[in-house]
């Protein structure tokens, strides 16, 4: 046991004990003690101006933020979603917190605070380019700011822009101005408006005409500071004939309080362009009794603007106390394709209300939706999806498959599919199943020598296979492991 005479709060011994203890449940629950530059809690027009000033933003962006803020003031928090939580006090949230740096922004990885590098190392995301995951460029967002971006120069050589959002505002203002808010307007919904007013950082990606991005790009979001909300904004633009695969990962320390993560992601694909966007969301889910955890209220939307463009969302949502998001595609270009592959797992007291929106506008547009919801413990899992075929969408096709799996008898699965068809040439298919993880299946595995815990993860992974195979290889492995950890203790 730990010696009680030790007075420092974090002796190396307690640190190790804590780490071990945490690793059994949520292994990313540690906190990095780092000096920060934070605003006091609360939201006002001054706070919006301060955030903008801290980033030395041009006036047009400040005006855009203020427009969003003023609109947000007129909105009320939505309540139609199938999740329950205590009201959020928006005046208690800190809207900006950044680790202090010697200069405003590190010029190279050598300038990055070693404590930050160590944090990402611990998270399994080494930021040294030589040590990095083979062929993946990373933008690391820590609370409100991006702290490092790898392979920036190398990608720059072929014209790819991969940088923190705040940097793009300065270096590529014309692109940001053209596309910011073009998919998710500043007044789109309550949380998108809030984000538009106070967003602090995120990633910006621009793939020029005809370029196939040679490596996966990824952003790793980390909430560290207490009482802080994270409001990042990601914007990806794929020019004609270009291709990019992008991945985001998320973690946060274990805390008793809830923290808000309200992000906005906008994707734009022009003619013949392909964007593949994968998410592994592992925010702190709260403890076994539902105390603490992240509120993950996110707006993600893609525009298939060009002909034959193709955008695919893949998400593995295992974390967060509450997940609420509907990554969608607006299929404007003729023959464009939108896809949504999702695994959402809720254990203990987690809640998720997630799905997709596919809006067919162009001719012969296609969408494909595969959703796998897994509920364990007291978890509540809702699929909500909208398939809309507008008048102009001749020959549109949609296939939706929506499967739910229940583990135990105290959890729930809910499905709300909305289908609106305004064009009689549309072809729609919807399949849905709900199954209880079978006693028969478990017994069969047991009888072959496989333990119940291994059997559950095997059966669940089998259930999710159609989604996992959409993930880049190394992340598919990661996702499987994550499911195993998240399911621990779900079968008594």
């Amino acid at each position: 046991m730990v010696s009680s005479t030790e007075q420092t709060p974090m002796s190396s011994e307690t640190d190790a004990t804590l780490d071990r203890w945490q690793s059994e449940e949520y292994k990313y629950g540690f906190y990095t003690d780092i000096e920060t530059d934070s605003l006091p809690p609360g939201l006002s027009e001054d706070v919006v101006r301060l955030i903008s000033a801290k980033k030395d933003e041009p006036d047009w962006l400040l005006q855009w933020r203020l427009k969003a803020y003023r609109h947000w003031l007129t909105m009320t928090e939505p309540t139609w979603q199938n999740v329950h939580y205590e009201p959020i006090d928006y005046q208690k949230i800190i809207y900006y917190s950044a680790p202090k740096q010697a200069k405003d922004r590190p010029q190279s990885l050598d300038d990055v605070d070693p404590k930050l590098l160590e944090t990402y190392e611990k998270l399994g995301i080494p930021l040294q380019e030589r040590a990095i995951l083979a062929g993946v460029a990373v933008d690391a967002v820590f609370d409100s700011v991006s702290v490092a971006t790898t392979f920036k120069e190398k990608l720059g050589e072929i014209g790819i822009i991969f940088c923190p959002f705040s940097e793009a505002v300065h270096d590529h203002p014309e692109l940001v101005q053209q596309y910011l808010g073009s998919v998710v307007p500043h007044n789109d919904n309550f949380f998108a408006a809030l984000n538009s007013a106070v967003f602090s950082d995120g990633s910006f990606v621009y793939i020029p005409k005809g370029v196939k991005c040679p490596m996966d790009l990824s952003t790793y979001f980390r909430i560290n500071a207490i009482s802080t909300g994270q409001f990042e904004r990601t914007l990806i633009v794929a020019e004609e004939g270009s291709t990019v695969s992008y991945l985001e990962g998320c973690t946060a320390p274990m805390r008793d309080e809830h923290q808000l993560h309200a992000a906005v992601v906008e994707l734009i694909a022009l003619d013949d362009a392909t964007i593949k966007y994968s998410t592994i969301q592992n925010w702190y889910p709260g403890d076994k009794d539902g105390k603490g955890g992240i509120y993950n209220f996110v707006t993600k939307r893609a525009k298939c603007l060009g002909r034959n463009s193709h955008i695919s969302w893949t998400q593995v949502e295992t974390g967060a106390a509450i997940t609420w998001k509907y990554p969608g595609c607006i299929l404007i270009g003729d023959n464009s394709v939108g896809e949504f592959y999702s695994v959402a797992l809720t254990n203990n007291h987690q809640q998720a209300d997630t799905g997709t929106k596919m809006i067919h506008i162009g001719k012969n547009t296609r969408s494909n939706v595969v959703s796998k919801g897994i509920s364990a413990g007291f978890g509540q899992n809702t699929y909500r999806g909208l398939i809309k075929i507008t008048k102009s969408a001749h020959g549109a096709r949609n296939y939706t498959q929506c499967d739910s799996m229940l583990i135990g008898d105290k959890c729930g699965a809910h499905t709300f599919p909305y289908i609106e068809v305004k064009n009689s040439t549309a072809q729609m298919e919807h399949e849905a199943t709900t199954s209880k993880i079978g006693e028969d299946q478990l017994f069969y595995c047991n009888q072959r020598g496989i333990s119940t815990e291994d059997a559950v993860s095997m059966i669940v992974n089998g259930f999710c296979k159609e989604v996992f195979r959409e993930l880049p290889m190394e992340f598919a492995v990661e996702a499987q492991k994550l499911l195993e950890v998240s399911l621990e203790g779900s079968v008594g």
Binding site: N446, Q447, R448, G449, N461, G462, F463, E466
Partner: protein, 255 residues
């Protein structure tokens, strides 16, 4: 190897097994026959460790250990295998992956090194020949979309891969055509060894033309009413289960 003494088993308050005794030694092939509802499958399920069955009395020793104390996976690791009457489908889980997990769980339990994917594939392909299985099957999900015959052959294939000490075949012959029946029987026969025992549960004598038992037991109403050699199966086929039941009643009445 296996001693069952005075086994009483309830299912949802009904007593199904009412004092069953059975001893199986290594190297022996036992056949358990009996009419529908006599408790044959109940015995198989209880031995495998299904928890919906409640043992109210009696004991079961496997190699001297109390089998009833072990969890189902521990029993499997100890060498008890049951070929299911209704093999279960596990969508999305590849047969090769599933079997390797099973083999490695058993090997780990025995303190042996785990097999990697390449070694395992070599090992498994050899076993597939035993039951004339198509290698494509390894890539498919466990039992998903298998025909009835494929499922049953798959069970024998899994048995061959797991190399148990005690194999319980729960009506493996039901629903098989004569060709498939022969393949299954050949697979079982090729696995007979002096250190392995079989308990073959069946309705019909037909299977026993191909798998020749050392002992035949007749289960009626939760008790073994008659035991004998392979001739007993022939006699049963001829005279029916009523005969076995009556002969025991007569014996009881006479004493």
């Amino acid at each position: 190897m296996l001693q069952i003494r005075n086994l009483h088993v309830n299912v949802q308050g009904h007593e199904i097994l009412k004092g069953l005794d059975l001893t199986i030694n290594a190297g022996e092939m036992h056949s358990l026959m009996g009419p529908n509802g006599s408790g044959k499958s109940t015995l198989a399920q209880v031995l495998a460790g299904r928890d919906t069955y409640e043992v109210t009395e009696g004991e079961v020793l496997f190699e001297g250990r109390n089998l009833l104390e072990l969890e189902p996976d521990e029993r499997a690791c100890a060498g008890v295998f049951m070929a299911f009457q209704y093999p279960v489908e596990i969508p999305g889980v590849g047969t090769a992956y599933f079997l390797r997990a099973a083999v490695n769980a058993v090997r780990k339990h025995r303190g042996e090194e785990e097999l990697d994917a390449v070694d395992f594939l070599g090992f498994v392909k050899e076993k597939m020949r035993l039951v004339d299985m198509d290698e494509q099957l390894l890539k498919r999900s466990v039992n998903e979309g298998f025909s009835g015959g494929e499922k049953k052959r798959g069970e024998i294939f899994q048995m061959a891969v797991l190399e148990p000490k005690l194999a319980i075949l729960d009506e493996t012959d039901s629903g098989l055509d004569i060709d498939a029946l022969k393949i299954v029987a050949d697979g079982v026969n090729s696995m007979r060894r002096t250190d392995r025992a079989f308990l073959v549960i069946t309705h019909y004598q037909r299977l026993l033309n191909y798998i020749v038992p050392d002992f035949v037991h007749v289960l009626v109403d939760g008790r073994i009413v008659k035991s004998g050699g392979k001739e007993l199966a022939m006699e049963l086929e001829e005279k029916g289960y009523g005969w076995a039941d009556q002969s025991i009643r007569h014996a009881a009445a006479a004493s």
